[in-house]
Amino acid sequence: MAPGMDRERLLEAIALTRAEYQLIVQRLGRHPNEVELGMFGALWSEHCGYKHSKVLLRRLPSQAPWVAVGRGEENAGVVRVGQGWCAALKVESHNHPSAIEPYQGAATGVGGIVRDILAMGARPLAILDSLRFGPLSHPRNRYLFAGVVGGIGGYGNCLGIPTVGGELYFEEAYSHNPLVNALCMGILPEERLVRARAQGEGNTLMLVGAGTGRDGIHGASGLASRTDPTGRFEELRPAVQVGDPFLEKLLVEACLDLAWNHPQWMVGIQDLGAAGLTAACVEAAARGGAGVEVDIARVPRREEGMTPYEVMLSESQERMLIIVRQGYEEQVGRLFQRWEIPWAIIGKVTGDGLIRVKDGPYEVACLPISILTDPPIYEGAGDMPPEVAAARAMDMASLPSPEDPAATLLALLASPNICSRRWVYQQYDQSVLNNTVVEAGADAAVLRIKGTPLALAIATDGNGRYCYLDPQVGGAMAVAEAARNVICLGARPLAITDGLNFGSPERPHVYWHMEGVIDGMAQACRALGIPVVSGNVSLYNETGGQAVYPTPVVGLMGLIEDVYRIPRPGSAKPGDEVYLLGPGPALPPQSLGGSELLAVMGLAPRGRPQLDLQLEDRVQKAALAAMKEGIVRTAHDCSEGGLAVALAELCLREGLGLEAP
C-alpha cells in the first residue's frame, strides 16, 4: 500500500464509501491521515462493524438465567452449565480466504476461532466444521473440498483439540463462494472467566505470539467486505497466509496457565483476528471504557520496512494481546518465556478514551475510541426475488411419485448431501483430551466434563435451500433441527452461536432473505427458549451478482446432567419398538418443499418447507422426558431425506433390521 496513495484509491482499497468518509471527517472535525483512514477502514468494515446486520441481530433473543456473557459483549458467549463450570461458544467464518487458498484459509479459520475461546480463559474442548461447496462433479470444487478438510485437520489435530462434528452440503449456489464456518467450544471454572477489557490506567499492553508481517492487509476491509464482480480477490493474494498450529498450541497452554494459575497478574486477554492490532486494541479499550497508547516500533516484526499502516492492520495469525496489571510485567513475561513464546510490551492503557499510535517518538495516529466503534448502521429494504416467488408457486400435488421407491431411497442415501461423512471425520482427531463420549457421525457429539457427571452435546445445522425458498421457516428449522440433534443424545438445549452467511446486503433480494432468516431464527429461539450468546456475520458471499443460498449455521450446545444415563448410538436391541414423535407418517405433498428427494429426482428447488413450532416444542420436551425416564435406548432425528432416510440411517448405525407396518 504505497504511502501517499491518493485518497480515492485508498477509499476503494479499504472498502469505505465517500459518504462514510464524509461522516468520519465530520465527526473527527478534520481529515484523517492515512494510518487513521486505514484504521477506520478496518473497524467500519462490514466484518467488524456489522453495518448492515446490527439492526437485525438485535431481534435475536440473547437472555437467559444461565447466560454469563451474552451476544456482542466479548470474544465469545459464555453460559453456566453447573457445578461451578461454564462453557464458552463461538462460530466464525473464513469463507473468502478459503476460496483463494483452501488449506490455509480453513486452517487459519480454525486458529482464529480457537483464540476467541481462549480469550475468555476457556480450555478449548471441541471443534466443529460447517462446510458448503459446489457440486463434486466439478474439479475445482473437489480441490476446494479436499483442501479445506486437509486444512481443518492439519491445524486442529496439531492443536490437540478433537474435531467431532459439523455438516457438509454440496449445492450449485456455493460453486464460486464456498462457506467454511468453524465452531469452537471450551470450558472454564466460572471464577476463572476472563474479559477482554483494557482497563486500569497504566496497565500494560503486551503482544505475545508470532512476529508481525504483511499478512492479510485489507483482510478485514478488503476481502470480507467487498463483492467480487470480476474475481478481483486474486489481486489480494498476499491476504492469505500459512497458519502455525504449533505456536498456537503453545499460546493455548501459556494463556490458560496465566488465566487459571495467575489471574491476578492480568486484567484481560484479547485475540488478534480480523484487522489485527487495530481491532484488538480498540475493542479491548472500548469494553474497558478506557484509552490505549501503542508504540508500533516495539511490535516484533517478521519483515523489514513495514509502515505504521501495515503494522496496525496486519492480520498475522497466532498473536494475542494481554492486558497486564501494572507491576506484573516481569512475571507475565517470564511465563511466556517458559512456554518459549516471544512477547513484547507495546503500550499501555490510558484514561483519555483515545487510541494513540506512536512510531518511536512520532505520533502517527490519534482517534477517539468512541467514533471508531460506532460505524454508521444501515437498514436495508427487502424484496422477494421473483424466482423465489415462482418456485414457491409451483404445484406440489402434481409431482410424479417415484416408480421404484427402493431405488429412490438408495439414490437418496448415496446423495452427497446425505451419505456418510466418514471420509471427512476420519481425518480429524476424535478423542484427544479424553473427553469424547460420542464421536463424529452421530446426531451430535458429546463431551464429558471430567470430575462431574455433566456433559455437553454440540451440533451444527442449517439448510440453505430451505432458507432460499422460505427464509422465515428455513431460519426456524435451522434452530429446531440443531435442538433435535442434541436432544437425540439426551441433552437439554442451552445456547446457540449463529454463523450467518449471505450475499451483498446492499441488494434488496439478499436483504429480504437475511431479514427473513433472522426473524425465523428469533421466533424459534423464543418458542424453544434457547438464547443466542454469540455469532458471526459473513456478507458479500457472491461472485458476478450470483449470491450463495442464505445460509444460517446454527451451532447449538445442550447440557447433559448425567452422562452415564444418555441414549447412545449402537445400543438398540432386537425386539425394541420404534416410535415416531411428531407429524406423519402420512404428510401433505407441501412437506416436500425444498426436499432432497426433489433434488435427487433432478428437479429444481420448489414449494415451501413447513414447520409447526408449537408442535416442535412439545415433541422435543416429550422426547427429553422419555429419556429422563430411561425408557429410550437410542434416538435419531428426521432431516434431509425424511422418515425413510432416518429409518435407514438408524438401521445402518445400529446394525439391525426394521419391520414397519
Binding site: 497466509q241 500459512v242 517478521r302
Partner: protein
C-alpha cells in the same frame, strides 16, 4: 522418444510466512549453528519422463508445475532438465 529427468524445486513465495522454516532455524541454533540466518522449507520432485525433444520436455514440465505441482497462490517453482 528420449528419456529426460526433471528436477523441480517448489518454494513458498517470499511474502508468505514459513513457520516450518523458522522452527528448523531455531533447532539448528540450539544445535550450535549460530551462523544460520534463515531457513526456507520447500518441496523437491524428481520426474523421469519421455519426450520427443528437450524443448517438449521443458514445455510439459512447465505446465505440470503450473497446473499441479505448485500452488500458484502461495508457491513459486523452478526446474531444470537433464537429458539422461
Amino acid at each position: 522418444m528420449a528419456r529426460f529427468r526433471a528436477h523441480v524445486y517448489i518454494t513458498l513465495k517470499p511474502t508468505v510466512n514459513d513457520p516450518q522454516g523458522l522452527t528448523i532455524q531455531g533447532a539448528l541454533k540450539q544445535l550450535g549453528y549460530e551462523g544460520v540466518k534463515s531457513v526456507r522449507a520447500g518441496k523437491y520432485f524428481v520426474l523421469e519422463l519421455e519426450a520427443l525433444s528437450s524443448q517438449e520436455a521443458e514445455k510439459s514440465v512447465e505446465e505440470m508445475c503450473r497446473r499441479l505441482l505448485a500452488n500458484p497462490v502461495i508457491e513459486e517453482f523452478r526446474f531444470r532438465i537433464e537429458g539422461s
